[in-house]
Symmetry: C2
Subunit: 446 residues, 2 copies
């Protein structure tokens, strides 16, 4: 069952959770240990975006009309009730999913990509530079840049650039310049290649390269894909719409679930429901067991990129030096976590669960066979948690409403399911001793 | 700009064009030369579907309520105005597209897949057997079968089975049994392999194998993906919705364009606009120059499969023996064409154009950069015709409304664009002498 929402009801504002929090969130920090302000980030992002990053007072930020018109090309997105999955699980629970797979780039990342490109175009920015793993974020940004005649350059983790050619192909099809990272373009890249000419790269290195280029190049700025406050704010369209749709469906969500990589999808869905906590709603962030920042990490300031060009953030981290195995959900391999999501976890406002990838893909296949849509690898992790909660409802004979966030991103993902179905996929669990070793090297900033 | 349509306005009936035609359409025929009737097709399809195939009186067929509820999971689909593309082309024309890429399987084929699976489930049919090239049709049918607990078996052209593993992977992910064709499962397959053990197969051979299995296996039926009258009828939801949406947008379509393979997408979009012809609307079917049934074929009875298990149809054909080069739009390589679309072309109610694949993909890339959505290879051919018409409008300073059908199918298609962008794609044009040689072997049925 699909619950649509009239285009006129698309939210005209982004939601900022900070004024509603009963506790403080630690600010971004420089490597030398002072809290960063507006001017420190100026070289990196459009002014309007930096203002949003530091906004602590306003609960709502108006979305410019031109941008609202763009959002209306694919928003409001539908909410579905997964009745066939409920039947297969023989559960009294009702399972709802907010479906973001219908955006032009096939994922919710497009929500912030168009916002950032829009603001960049108003400040005469000619280039946006970004880092990407498999290509989801890069493809979203490339499509959005085209709408505003902005050039897009993407540093792509070399392992992904070489292995999974489709992510790269989509970005190139959309006209973006894609550079395998590490590259000789930047000091960071050259340094890494100097030590290890065959380096397959990492997202942290790609981030450093993109930062370096954005801060040096005339007319260029960096574009974040997740983690930062303003990105989550842009994503709150998801949760605001889902709230209206759940009301139309007459279902207050008892459990809200999303996969977490950097935290923007989770925050985008969950934050607009934050006050429902008082009525008993639970929020579950689902991690991969191979990079479990919340479940096993330390709450501390850490680098967000390999060379410390980007701000340090107070967050749950398994250490910027920890290299997770190459599991098939690129966006979930990041060592850190959004400071907002981290603070909520610290304050026990949200829960975390971690699963190995084969459990996730097993659930993803079950979902696809029931509902028809093939979920993204990230969404498959969320679905595993949904299935577990729905089975618990069956045991306890409880009729709960479960809501989760669903993406497709299918351009990149079928290879992953193929690997799973062929039995060629291995499970990985982050070992405590490795995480402990990695967090021992955290920078000393408090 | 997106034009949505209220769920309540989704058409409750399929449209049958036959009562509105001013001429007769020749019936399906047996190889021995007698017109086929209901009982001849009985072993192959559910009764309700065969009735639809032979329906000549009723203009409208009611869609069962349960099926309407299913359609509402992704229908009505949106209509878009491609304003950014118009701007890039600097044309006074207005370009609209009916977007079918948001269905669970990512293509309009899902419209008939769920209808066929629905009727099959009501007649206690346990298996549906189909033939597929790249996997678009097989994936749609596999997803639809899951909704009704029907087993799905797909004979997939061996060249595609081996080359483009994603089509196969999606079907397997959805639980279908996928068999590379030619196979040893059937007499047809064994015969082909006996002559040529390394045969890479063809859609005609896969069709014969699927027919053979469906007609022999207890509780099994065959499922067509295109060509037949009932398939186009199921697809008329597309055009009926587009008509309402064009009215809401205040735009009478002057030119309606769709790619044609077997003709079901074209018919589904165009037939509900048939009467607009009297007000000057033009309809353009776009073919690939490597398999131009309408543009270069003969209007005659021909086999629809390699061994003549399926009905012979009166259609434009380049000969069932003609093997088109392996161009990257699998659905457009078929030698024949829907009898309804063929008859309309014969009677000059519609036009046909043919393009080589590189021209098509060039247009597809331009569209993706303007609009964000990556079109399917088939849709790229339609877009090439749209771009040409829009440029003609610029020359003549005419403000026409152009409407076309757009699919994504992106799971399968990115490899194709990669090949194009890397300059590794060749153009192919069907040579007159090859087509003439192929149509020389047509069966003698008139």
């Amino acid at each position: 069952m699909r619950v649509t929402l009239d285009a006129k009801k698309m939210p005209g504002k982004w939601y900022n959770i900070i004024p509603d929090l009963e506790f403080d969130v630690s600010p971004p920090m420089s490597p030398s240990g002072y809290p960063l302000g507006f001017h420190d980030l100026e070289p990196l992002a459009p002014h309007a975006v930096i203002e949003q990053e530091f906004e602590k007072e306003k609960r709502e930020i108006k979305i410019p009309d031109e941008l609202q018109a763009l959002y209306r090309e694919w928003r409001p997105t539908p909410l579905f009730r997964a009745e066939r999955l409920e039947k297969r699980l023989d559960t009294p629970a009702r399972i709802y999913y907010k479906y973001e797979g219908g955006s032009p780039s096939g994922s919710y990342e497009f929500n912030t990509a168009v916002a950032q490109a829009y603001y960049a175009s108003y400040e005469d920015i000619k280039y946006l530079v970004a880092a990407t793993g498999n290509g989801e974020w890069g493809a979203s940004l490339a499509a959005a840049c085209n709408f505003f005649d902005i050039k897009c350059k993407v540093y792509m983790v070399r392992a992904s650039y070489e292995e999974r050619a489709y992510g790269r192909s989509i970005m190139e099809l959309l006209g973006a310049e894609v550079v395998p990272s590490p590259s000789e373009n930047t000091r960071t890249g050259s340094k890494v290649l100097g030590k290890d000419p065959g380096s397959s790269g990492s997202l942290s290195i790609a981030l450093s390269e993109a930062f370096e280029e954005a801060s040096k190049k005339e007319g260029a700025k960096f574009a974040w894909g997740t983690v930062m406050n303003h990105i989550i704010m842009h994503q709150t369209l998801i949760g605001q719409e889902a709230r209206l749709q759940m009301k139309e469906a007459g279902a207050r969500p008892d459990i809200i679930i999303s996969a977490v990589g950097g935290g923007s999808g989770f925050g985008g869905l969950v934050f607009p429901f934050y006050k429902e906590r008082e009525e008993g709603s639970r929020f579950i962030a689902v991690e991969t067991a191979s990079a479990p920042s919340l479940s096993k990490g330390r709450y501390a300031y850490d680098y967000t990129d390999s060379d410390g060009f980007a701000p340090l953030l107070k967050m749950y981290t398994i250490g910027h030096g920890y290299v997770p195995p190459n599991i098939r959900a690129g966006g979930m391999r990041y060592h850190g976590m959004s400071p907002l999501v981290s603070a909520l976890y610290r304050e026990k406002r949200i829960e975390a669960k971690a699963y190995t990838q084969r459990r996730a893909f097993e659930a993803g296949v079950e979902f696809a066979r029931a509902e028809g849509f093939v979920p993204s690898p990230e969404s498959s992790y969320a679905i595993k948690a949904v299935v577990d909660e729905a089975r618990a409802c069956r045991e306890k004979k409880e009729r709960k409403n479960i809501l989760f966030l669903m993406n497709t991103n299918s351009n990149l993902d079928i290879a992953v399911f193929k690997e799973f179905l062929e039995g060629a996929m291995e499970d990985h669990v982050a070992q405590d001793e490795h995480v402990e070793a990695a967090v021992r090297d955290l920078p000393e900033v408090e």
